[in-house]
Every structure is written in C-alpha cells, then in structure tokens.
C-alpha cells in the first residue's frame, strides 16, 4: 500500500469490486459478457440491468454515506467508540420506518427517508437528553447501545406482531441490500446533497480537534458546528437506513481504517472514508450473496461479523 497516494489505490479497488459485484452471484457472468449485457435484449440484460447494477450502485452510495456520517460523528464527539449505529441513531431510524410501514401500509414508500430522518433525529435527541454533554466515552456508548437494543426490540416486536415477509424482517433488523432496485436508488439520490455540506464543514472539523477554546479563538462556533455536523450525520444515516435497514458497524469501522491510511486531516479523510465505506459494503454484499448461492445473507450480518471484533479491539485500547 502506498501511504502517500491512497486515492488511486482506493478508487481502483472500488472499481474492481464493482465489476466483481456485477460478475458474481447466483449466476456467474463472465467479464466479456458484462459490457454486452447492458444492451437491451441481450441474455443477461435483466440480471445485470434490473438486479445487479442498481444494487451495486446502491452499495457504493450507502457505504459511502454511512462511512461519511460516522466520520462526522467521530469528528465532533471526539469519542473513538462513537458512530451512528453505536449511538442508536440508525436503529431509531429503522424503528420509525417500520412503524410507518406497519401502521400506514397504504401510504407512499417515498416518504420513508423523511420518516426515518425524524426517527433518527428523535433518537439523537433522546441520547442527548439522557447523557448530557459531560459524559465519558464509555457511558455514552453504553447508553447508545442500550437505546439501540430498545429500538431493535421494538422492531422485533412489531415484526412478530404483524408478520411481514421474513426477508423484510431481517432487512429491518440487520440491514440488507436484498431486493433493492432503481426505485430505492432514486429515493436516496436527493440526500447526496448533504455530502457537499459535509465537505464544507471539513476545515472547521480540523480546528475543533484542537479543543473548544482554541477553535473558538480561531473564529469557530463550536456548539453550532457540532449541531450542524450531527444533523448532517443523522440525515445521511437516516436516508441509508430508510433504504437498506440499519447496516451495523460500517460507520464505526470505515473512518478508523481511513484515519490509519490518510491521517486525520478532514479534507482528505472525508472523501477517503467514503471510498473505504463503499469498498467495505461492496465486499460485505458480495460475500453475503456468494457464500452459499442462491441463499442470501443480509449484508448487515457480514458487517457485524467484521465490525464487532474491531469494536472490541477499539474498546480494549480505549483508556
């Protein structure tokens, strides 16, 4: 790995994985068939165009957004254990989405991201109210995890009371890209506008690392910055959760890995972490689909299997 030029490596890796995601699955499509497959009427058109392409693009977007949201949260809370899913935001958004789907089944699915956003914001507010500003890293994480467990048991309960399809249930409990297509991709597109906002915050995020007082004297309103970044992070997470369910540990692991690769400067960290997040989710989804085809595991399971040990390692190191 070239430490000095991570971007070309990351982008190449992502492209290779995108092609791999298009090639492998229940049916393998050889490389030279893929380009032909995009022309209408060819043998693999349906598989590629209707099924694998939107799913792969979605994996890239969701991975990138989740990772970005994690980087923002870790940037402002200065807590290595923090991330939207550890803090319960993604499960809160998931619970709101499930409540909306079970109790208003007739209403349009396009409102799902907005509903998830409300749920995520509420979850963040509840956490804030329970912990206040002066909590230790570990206490914040415990409260967040407990809240996440509460929301998850709420989802679990609704699923068992009003049984949907089992794949749906696993989707909302662990997160999965199963059965997602162009429509979901369109749903998530407007939320990409949050990404430039995050980049615009990057410089101030660097300064806040120097401590609140220093940042203040350099002309940054620390509390306002915190509020804006957290709101952006919640928005990014909620839109992903509305489409894919709470895919765990992605927002935690990706920023940490990226910090090792490119260092802590947010102008490079934020774009790099998006690439890393996309790569992680592409790998997770690829493994989840190909481990025992045609059975499919939820991608959220794979991220949990990778992410939980990493969380333990972080915990072990945290003073």
């Amino acid at each position: 790995m070239k430490q000095s030029r991570p971007f070309p490596t990351l982008i190449t890796g992502m492209l290779i994985l995108i092609i791999a995601n298009l090639m492998f699955g229940a049916v393998s499509i050889p490389l030279n068939e893929i380009l032909k497959g995009f022309q209408q009427g060819s043998d693999n058109y349906f598989t590629l165009h209707e099924y694998r392409l939107p799913r792969t693009l979605l994996a890239v977007l969701v991975g990138a957004m989740m990772a970005l949201s994690g980087a923002l949260v870790q940037g402002v809370i200065r807590n290595p254990l923090a991330s939207p899913d550890v803090l319960g935001v993604s499960h809160g958004a998931g619970l709101a989405a499930v409540i909306y789907m079970t109790y208003f089944p007739a209403s349009s699915i396009d409102w799902l991201p907005a509903v998830a956003l409300v749920g995520g914001l509420l979850a963040a507010l509840i956490l804030w109210w329970l912990c206040g500003q002066s909590s230790s890293a570990i206490k914040l994480a415990i409260t967040g995890v407990a809240l996440a467990a509460l929301y998850a048991s709420g989802v679990d309960f609704l699923m068992l009371v009003k049984p949907l399809e089992i794949n749906n249930a696993l989707l909302w409990l662990t997160g999965s890209l199963w059965g997602r297509g162009w429509h979901q991709l369109m749903m998530i597109l407007p939320w990409l506008l949050l990404i430039p906002v995050a980049f615009w915050l990057a410089k101030s995020l660097n300064l806040i690392h120097l401590g609140d007082d220093t940042a203040m004297s350099l002309g940054i309103n620390a509390n306002k910055l915190r509020l804006v970044s957290l709101a952006v992070a919640v928005g990014l997470t909620a839109s992903c959760v509305a489409v894919c369910g709470p895919i765990g540990f992605l927002g935690l692991v990706a920023p940490h890995l990226t910090r090792k690769l490119v260092g802590g400067r947010h102008q490079t960290l934020l774009p790099a972490t998006m690439l890393v997040g996309a790569i992680l989710l592409l790998v997770a989804d690829l493994v989840a689909r190909t481990i025992d085809p045609p059975i499919e595991l939820p991608a959220g399971l794979m991220t949990a299997i990778i992410g939980a040990p990493y969380f333990l390692w972080l915990l072990f190191r945290t003073k």
Binding site: A146, L150, F157, T174, I295
Partner: protein, 333 residues
C-alpha cells in the same frame, strides 16, 4: 409501599401465593377453546381424559407454566450470581453475552450435527455460553479488581452482536428459511412440553441449590476481593464454581425455551429493593420473582395478538431495555 416493610417470611409467602395465582391464570386465560378457571383447577387433581379443556390444561398449559417458572427462577438466580461475582450492577446473562453464545452453540450443533439430540444441544449451549463469557471477561478486564464496569458491559454487547450475527448466518445458510429463527432467538415458550420439562428440571434444581450454597461467599465478595480472602473465601473456587453454576442454569434454560433476555438483569435489582443486600435472603426472593415475571409475560404474550402468539422474550426485552438505560443513568460507571 407496605409490602417493603413485611417480614421476610411474609414476603416469601406473598410471592409464592402470587406465583400460584399467576400460574393458575396462565392455565385458563386466552385459549382458543374456552377453558373455565374451574376446569384449570380440576384438571390438576381430577383429570378427565374425555374433557378437551382438561386435556389442553394437562398436556399444553401445565408444562408450559412450569417450564416458564423454572426458567424464570434459573435466569434470575444466574443474574444474582453474576452480579455478585463481577460486582457489576449491569451484569446479567443477556448483557454479558452468555445468552447469545449459548444460542450460537446450539445453532451450530443443531444444524451441523443434528443427531446429537436434546442432551447434546444443552451441552452445546453451556459450552457456547461459557466461551462467550470467558471472552467477555478477558476483554473486559473483569478478573482484576478495579476493572471498569462500563468496559465489561460494552465487551459483552459486542460479543453478543457478533454471536447473534453468526447464529443468524449459520441458520439462514443451513435451514434455507429463517422464520423460526427470529421467534427462537427472542425466546418463546410455545413449544414447551412435558418432555422438555423432564430434561430441564434435574439440571435446574441442581443449579438453584448450588447458588443457595454459595450465597454466603457472595455476601463476603461484596466486601472486595482482598477482604473476602482475609475472611477465608477461596476466590478461585468461588469464582469458578459460580461461573459453572451460571452456565448450568443459563444453558439449561436456553436449551429449553431459547434466549429469553433481561430477566437476569431486572429481577436481582427488584429483589434487592425488597430485602436488602444479604444474598441468603434475596436469592430465594429473586427466584420467585423471576418465575412470576416469566409466567406473567408468557400469559401476556398470548394475549397481545390473540389467537396468535408473540415470543415472551420480545415482551421482556421491551420492558428490560428501558430499565437497563435507567440503571446506566443512575449508577456512576
């Protein structure tokens, strides 16, 4: 709170009566075929084979209530012992990963080597739970005195997540359908029969008696490891023995009904509120309360979307998680 000022024997008596009452209600309530309260009683002492209500009570409801009571007592006792051993108010089988580890062990054994039978699965539950707990204790620095409480809990939660993800993966791959898994992972008494009871009670009884035996040492552990050692407690044996008892209790409970959570967290605190810190006193109280709680939530689980059933564990999780948050907030971790 008049109940709080009752003498100890009075509290025990009231709770035993409450258990009988809850058990009786669970025998006749929410049945598709109507069962009268009187039927429920007469099925116990004057069983009539031709009466369908009697048959339901005898073959389905009675073992279910008894298994619920035993499982509740086991999980509550396990929670008390764990909180005593780790000196951590948040310790309990579900928080520290034993439930998830046991579930993983059972899932692996029952999908990969199904010829093992029920004895094999409860063995697997114990081994899986034991491994998970050992790992949590190692990572959470719990064997040294002065280890941080929060770290242990977070390690437990992470191990639980990992085990739960692996369990779901194993079952989805092997079974090709996952509908039963969610119910079972949440913990449900739906499949409780006499056969299950026969396998459950000897191990459970052994474990419960064992916890009563070590309750004296648990009292001394509250003084801190050093003081306990000075007073003649063999720390190694108490901790090893306690851990073994916990595994025995949790393993048998989980192999009978699936991973019911939060009983072990809730009940010890409730019992402590009733009768103070003396383990010899509040251990029996905790067992009774745990039994009541599980039987009660099983009855509620049948009522919510009658005539279908929700797993009792899902209801307990809904009650238990807010309580957990309350504990985190109250204690200085």
């Amino acid at each position: 709170m008049k109940f709080l000022s009752f003498p100890y024997s009075g509290q025990c008596l009231v709770l035993s009566l409450l258990l009988c009452l809850v058990g009786w209600i669970s025998l006749f309530s929410w049945s598709v075929i109507p069962i009268s309260p009187h039927d429920a009683l007469s099925a116990l002492y004057a069983m009539n084979d031709d009466n369908i209500a009697h048959r339901i009570v005898h073959d389905l409801r009675l073992p279910r209530a008894m298994i619920g009571a035993i499982v509740g007592a086991c999980l509550a006792a396990a929670g008390v012992v764990m909180q005593g051993l780790t000196q951590n108010p948040l310790a309990s089988p579900s928080v520290l990963g034993i439930n998830a580890g046991a579930a993983l062990g059972m899932a692996i054994v029952s999908t990969i080597t199904p010829w093992f039978g029920l004895l094999g699965t409860s063995m697997a539950a114990m081994v899986g739970g034991g491994l998970a707990w050992a790992l949590v204790m190692l990572l959470g620095n719990a064997w040294k005195t002065g280890g941080e409480h929060g770290r242990l809990v977070l390690a437990g939660v992470a191990i639980s997540t990992l085990c739960a993800a692996l369990t779901k993966a194993v079952i989805i791959i092997e079974e090709d359908q996952a509908s039963g898994v969610l119910t079972w992972l949440a913990g449900s008494l739906t499949d409780a029969r006499w056969q299950t009871l026969d396998q459950l009670w000897p191990i459970a009884l052994l474990g419960l008696l064992g916890t009563l035996l070590i309750s004296q040492s648990l009292n001394l552990l509250q003084l801190g490891d050093d003081n306990a050692r000075n007073l003649g407690v063999s720390l190694l044996w108490v901790k090893l023995g306690g851990s073994f008892l916990v595994l025995l209790l949790v393993g048998s409970a989980i192999s009978a009904v699936g991973a019911i959570g939060f009983v072990g967290l809730l009940v010890p605190h409730m019992a402590r509120m009733l009768c103070g810190q003396d383990h010899r006193k509040f251990l029996p109280i905790a067992m009774l309360m745990g039994a009541c709680l599980v039987v009660l939530s099983d009855t509620i689980s049948r009522a919510i979307i009658f005539p279908m059933e929700t797993p009792a564990g899902a209801i307990l999780a809904l009650i238990g998680a807010p309580f957990f948050i309350y504990l985190v907030r109250k204690r200085t971790l």
